[in-house]
């Protein structure tokens, strides 16, 4: 498969980190809302509603960015199988690397959900 590198591809390069930023804002926002509306006091099995929701959103964010990383890596692999131009190789690599870095950043950023106190 060959992928035409158009100007819109710049958005793909930025997409992973944009999703990371979105995840940060959503997690911070939901945490703030949860603390105000008392979600930390509502139990859902072993978890509070607050923590359960944050875990879900965090894992969902990681999953979405990981899927993006998988797709950009697939594009890069497909290009490498052909004879990509240096430009195609560079832009595809950059998109894949940015996506993977964003996925790693999202995973690391959310780790405190597993332990830190939510509303204190």
């Amino acid at each position: 498969m060959t992928l035409a590198i158009r100007p819109a591809f710049l958005l793909v390069i930025a997409l992973g980190y944009t999703l990371w930023g979105g995840a940060l804002v959503v997690l911070y926002g939901v945490l703030s809302l949860g603390c105000v509306f008392g979600w930390e006091e509502v139990m859902l099995g072993p978890l509070t509603l607050q923590r359960g929701l944050l875990l879900l959103l965090w894992l969902l964010s990681v999953l979405v960015i990981a899927l993006l990383s998988w797709q950009t890596c697939a594009w890069l692999q497909a290009a490498r199988a052909g004879r990509p131009t240096p430009l195609a190789r560079f832009t595809l690599w950059l998109a894949a690397a940015c996506s993977i870095a964003a996925a790693g950043a999202t995973l690391f950023m959310g780790l405190p959900i597993l332990g830190a106190s939510a509303c204190i």
Partner: protein, 841 residues
């Protein structure tokens, strides 16, 4: 159309291009818009502000050198440290890298100028006038005095009743126009205005850094601009926004400030890192190691820096989990920073470094910046931060980061590019003495501040008792500060000697491979006599004869056609040539527009509001005159560029640079709007004193009709554009009239809602709601002005099937206004409905 006759000789070409691109002497210099002149002006002006900031720092050090100092009192001391931070951050650091970027980028990109020369000139005048307001206030003893981040409630009217805080809010907002205009100009230029063949993978590394920085400015600055506007409105008109007694929250200011403030640190560092990445390979005599990794690192730092802002607020009582998110992001940003540092070290290790003056300053940068980075990781850890918060430890950390990460690279850059700026070589090796004085002085000053901080000395105190045992450390710090100042004074002397007596340098004295060294030194107003075709990212290394060929007109556009200022716009990714960009020449319009804008800001400061309205009207009127430049009454069609290729001019092309400029301006606009909506939700959730006593209930019908009008205007804009593209200009006029009517109706509806809305001075809910309404109203008003402009353009024959750029730009604006209007009004209605229900809020 045939290719124009080429001049008989390179000298004749030089004279013709100089006549077209140059500014007239004397007062004519005020009309200069070319990037070389503007870049120099930014750099020199920023350095003058640096000197002012440095003198203020010396006054600070003189005051706290010993306990019980009677040098200045607390009131003056507050002004001095506030102005020191403000001048260094807003009037030195940002304009300095803007100056370097404006001066260097077109040359590095192999083009003749940036995309919007007049916007660059307008930005410079706004910077100069805004900065002058601040300095004038300092001279009159009315300078800002609430700290450079202006925390409320200290900066609110009850605690800062004088004009001091207004000077900061209004002066800095004025200056920020220049940052935003430079960001748009730099971003569009890097993406579109490059030498043909310069694909993304062949771009100079400095351009990658500046690309990231420009986007960061567009997203990072609007929250501060919004915060400044809201705080000024609260101070001037009594609106409730940050006052906890009326449903506001001073933490909202902190959020808005630091959403700007932390990326700002990287906005300052990344251009310097771009310079380091450019200079090190030259000094090492090899290519930059890991070019694409460095690009990845720059992008990563750019994004991650937006996830750190709360680490400035660790001590305000935010829940542990939220602190942990931002603590994690603060640690993460060390990774891409480390990647860059290892890439630079690897480049040096695998090359054969020359230890000259630029290299000395780069070594100083490594030492100091890495130390600053390490203390940065320390304060990113919440428990440690709580111990050293607001102490001199933090002052030491931020100076290690900012001076190490910006001033030392800038000094390296100055010594590296001075031969380009002046056309002369340095004399007497004074640079070595400059380095050692600055390096030793800096470390003596600031390393000891870590210790005073750990001993508990708070920042910003004007005096302290002898019994605390801080005297000797502070005295040594102050001595170090004066040693550093002597170093900078020697730097000035070195430059003056070089400019006046230095022997002339040849082209490319360092043996660099970036294209700025392919221009004459000092550079001409037009930069390149002809535009290179790039085939490698080391073009100059692979073709050392390139400067001669370009000067002889052997590249593209190696002629002077119809007195036009021409350069080439390319495809963003591949660098394939797409358009001929016709640039405006020398003009007083930017100066006139900045004066009109200045009238607006000064009138606000003096609270003469009728005059402020006159300033706005005048600014719009002068901006209107700007549109005369590209206007034509006939299609030019494709024109030759010199190698057999025919290209359309930008006004007859699909997506011209000005269209992209509006796209990026709207990105900044959206960041501001998003911050405003965040403000409403934040106050609703966090602030005390909610729910408000009164909500906006009686305007639902008006709001829904206004949404319909805005959506209709967007649709009509599309119809008008479609008609113009078919060549049916008459129909475009008809649709445009309806469009203008839709915006006018929106204005009336919003004005009606505002008159019946709750009193914005009573509660923060009403204040933010009114701010959202005013935001939409302003956008509808601009939409109306754009519709009037299109009407005029159609009537005068400036619009055709090929020349529909004005309508394309209009469509962008109307679309954005519709989306923002629907979201804004929808949010207002939604929040009102939620608050209105029992138990909500």
């Amino acid at each position: 159309m045939n290719e124009p006759n080429r001049p008989a000789s390179p000298v004749e070409l030089h004279h013709e291009l100089t006549r077209i691109w140059g500014a007239h002497p004397g007062f004519g210099q005020l009309a200069a818009v070319n990037h070389t002149t503007l870049g120099r002006r930014f750099i020199v002006t920023a350095f003058l502000f640096f000197a002012v900031g440095g003198i203020l720092a010396m006054l600070v050090r003189a005051q706290i050198a010993t306990s019980h100092s009677a040098f200045v009192g607390p009131e003056i001391y507050n002004q001095i440290f506030t102005m020191h931070g403000t001048v260094m951050m807003f009037l030195f650091a940002i304009p300095m890298f803007e100056g370097f970027a404006i001066y260097l980028l077109p040359k590095m990109l192999g083009t003749r100028d940036l995309a919007f020369p007049r916007a660059g000139a307008y930005g410079y005048w706004c910077y100069l006038f805004g900065g002058s307001i601040l300095l004038l206030a300092l001279a009159m003893g009315a300078a800002p005095d609430a700290g450079w981040f202006m925390y409320t409630p200290l900066s609110s009217k009850p605690f800062s009743p004088g004009i001091n805080a207004d000077v900061w809010l209004i002066g800095i907002t004025f200056v920020e126009i220049s940052a935003l205009s430079a960001a748009v100009e730099v971003l569009v230029s890097i993406l579109l205005v490059r030498a043909p063949g310069m694909s993304l993978d062949r771009m100079p590394i400095f351009a990658w850094y500046m690309l990231v920085v420009a986007v960061m400015i567009l997203v990072g600055f609007p929250p501060l601009i919004l915060g400044s506007i809201l705080l000024e409105v609260e101070r001037a008109f009594g609106w409730a926004l940050f006052d906890p007694a009326r449903g506001g929250d001073s933490l909202l200011w902190q959020h808005l400030f630091w959403i700007f403030g932390h990326p700002e640190v990287y906005i300052i560092f990344l251009p310097a890192a771009g310079m380091v990445s450019t200079i090190i390979p030259v000094m090492a005599g090899r290519e930059l190691l890991g070019y694409r990794w460095v690009v990845l690192a720059a992008i990563s730092v750019g994004f991650l820096s937006f996830g750190l802002w709360v680490h400035h607020m660790f001590a305000v009582g935010i829940p542990h989990l939220a602190l942990a998110f931002f603590s994690a992001a603060s640690m993460l940003v060390a990774i891409p920073t480390g990647v860059q540092i290892f890439a630079w070290l690897g480049t040096l290790m695998s090359g054969r470094p020359r230890f000259n003056v630029p290299m000395l300053f780069l070594c100083g940068f490594f030492f100091i910046f890495v130390l600053g980075g390490l203390t940065g990781v320390m304060v990113a850890v919440v428990p440690f931060d709580l111990q050293v918060h607001d102490t001199h430890f933090v002052v030491a950390h931020l100076h290690y980061v900012l001076v190490g990460g910006f001033v030392f690279p800038i000094m390296a850059a100055a010594y590296y590019w001075l031969p380009h700026l002046t056309g002369r070589q340095p004399m007497f090796q004074l640079g070595h003495a400059v380095f050692w004085l600055v390096f030793i002085g800096f470390n003596l000053t600031f390393f000891l501040m870590h210790l005073t901080g750990l001993l508990g000395m708070p920042r910003r105190i004007w005096t302290y008792p002898e019994s605390y045992g801080w005297d000797w450390l502070n005295l040594l710090s102050s001595i170090g500060g004066f040693v550093m100042t002597i170093g900078f004074a020697l730097f000035v002397l070195d430059i003056v000697l070089q400019m006046r007596f230095g022997p002339k340098t040849g082209r490319n004295p360092w043996g660099a491979d970036t294209l700025e060294w392919a221009t004459p030194v000092p550079p001409t107003d037009y930069g390149f006599a002809s535009i290179p075709i790039v085939t490698s990212h080391r073009q100059l290394a692979e073709d050392p004869d390139l400067p001669r060929k370009l000067a002889a007109g052997e590249g593209l556009l190696g002629f002077a056609r119809r007195n036009w200022l021409e350069t080439i716009a390319v495809d963003m990714i591949t660098g394939a040539p797409r358009q001929i960009l016709l640039l405006p020449g020398r003009t007083f319009l930017p100066l006139g527009t900045a004066l009109a804008t200045g009238l607006f800001f000064v009138s606000l400061l003096l609270q003469v509001y009728p005059l402020a309205i006159a300033g706005i009207v005048l600014t719009i009127a002068v901006f209107w005159l700007w549109t005369r430049h590209p206007a034509r009454t006939a299609d030019l069609g494709p024109l030759p560029v010199g190698d057999g290729t025919m290209l359309p001019v930008h006004t007859e092309s699909g997506h011209a640079p000005s269209w992209w400029a509006v796209v990026f301006l709207l990105l900044a606009d959206a960041a501001l709007f998003g911050s405003l909506l965040f403000g409403l939700i934040f106050l609703w959730v966090v602030a005390p004193g909610w729910p408000p006593p009164e909500v906006l209930f009686n305007s639902t019908a008006f709001a829904l009709i206004a949404m319909a009008c805005l959506a209709g205007a967007a649709g009509l804009g599309r119809l008008a554009l479609r008609a113009a593209r078919r060549g049916a200009v008459g129909w475009a006029l008809v649709w445009n009239r309806f469009l203008a009517a839709a915006h006018a109706a929106t204005l009336l509806l919003l004005a009606a809602i505002l008159t019946t809305a709750p009193d914005p001075t009573a509660h923060a809910y009403a204040g933010v709601t009114a701010a959202i309404l005013v935001y939409i109203l302003v956008h509808a008003a601009v939409g109306l002005i754009l519709a009037l402009h299109v009407w005029q353009a159609c009537r005068r024959g400036h619009v055709s099937a090929a020349r529909s750029l004005d309508l394309m730009i209009g469509r962008l604006w109307h679309d954005y206004t519709a989306v923002a209007g629907v979201i804004g009004l929808g949010t207002i209605l939604g929040v009102a409905a939620a608050i209105g229900q029992p138990g909500a809020g």
